[in-house]
Subunit: 144 residues, 2 copies
DNA sequence: GTACGTACTTACGATTAGTAAGCAATAGGT
DNA sequence: ACCTATTGCTTACTAATCGTAAGTACGTAC
């Protein structure tokens, strides 16, 4: 029995307490889909990576993460905070001062996210090569 | 000098050939953002996980991945194929028979994606606990 | 007094995702 | 003969989501 098969077998365990059961991302109605949505969202990935390096203020994150809007950054941070991955500390001063950092749970998530992100950055040349090959036969324009 | 710092320093190497340069996901206009979009898309993650276990036909994938529509599955597969992560083999028969599998590049990506997915599935109870705590103070309703 | 910085929120138009239906060609049931 | 089902898509249409721009409150600097 391979590790994969044992994992598949464990996917629906026989009636363990609902609160302790692991998620199943392949199931449409599993709450883990919400976590996946937050963590792998366009900006969620980059927020986790940025916060893994250091605690940041809102506007620091905005400057670090190229192209993010204030609206989406705020929403993403609220998602991640709600999942217990990001910690928000606000100082009651003017102008406002808010610091965002990763919780232990968030650091664990960021580790996996960064592994993926690093792979993408390193593999980009090989993937871009595919784009070029395809463009040579299929005509110009990269799939968005 | 920490590994993180050295990585940050390597982010903008001094004029190596453009074709060989690694991506920078924090830069708004870097093409690696497109790869990230495809790989971390709602269905891209699940396609990679499903195909990591075995080669699948289109409709097998549709049944395996709960909640995916034919439209989005087709589009996701085309993205991943275009990035060279998924291989598509069509047999000219009726009814049509098409098999999807991972390329070596796709298997490398799937490995990282599954590490993240596994973490989410296992960590779901701890995250759901956060939701419960928050719901107790903030009122009902989970952040989507 | 005008401009700027901070951390948001709120409207609104633009992009994207999801739903349902269509298609082509064959096999199987009644 | 006819109706239905299957497969792997694509094409309209609609609903959700995203990005842009602006507004807010309060203080400091020019």
């Amino acid at each position: 029995m391979s590790p994969r098969q044992s994992r598949a077998a464990a996917r629906r365990p026989a009636r363990i307490s609902e609160q302790l059961r692991r998620g199943d991302l392949l199931a449409a109605d599993c709450p883990s889909r919400d976590v996946l949505k937050h963590v792998t969202s366009r900006w969620g990935v980059l927020v986790l990576i940025a916060l893994e390096e250091r605690t940041c203020r809102f506007s620091e994150l905005r400057r670090t993460i190229g192209g993010v809007s204030e609206r989406m950054l705020a929403q993403t941070l609220q998602w991640l905070e709600g999942d217990g991955l990001v910690d928000r500390v606000a100082y009651e001063v003017v102008p406002p001062h808010v610091e965002y950092s990763l919780t232990p749970l968030g650091r664990a998530a960021a580790k996996r996210v960064r592994a993926l992100a690093d792979w993408i950055e390193v593999s980009l040349p090989r993937i871009a090569q595919k784009w070029d090959e395809r463009r040579a036969t299929t005509g110009p324009g990269r799939a968005r």
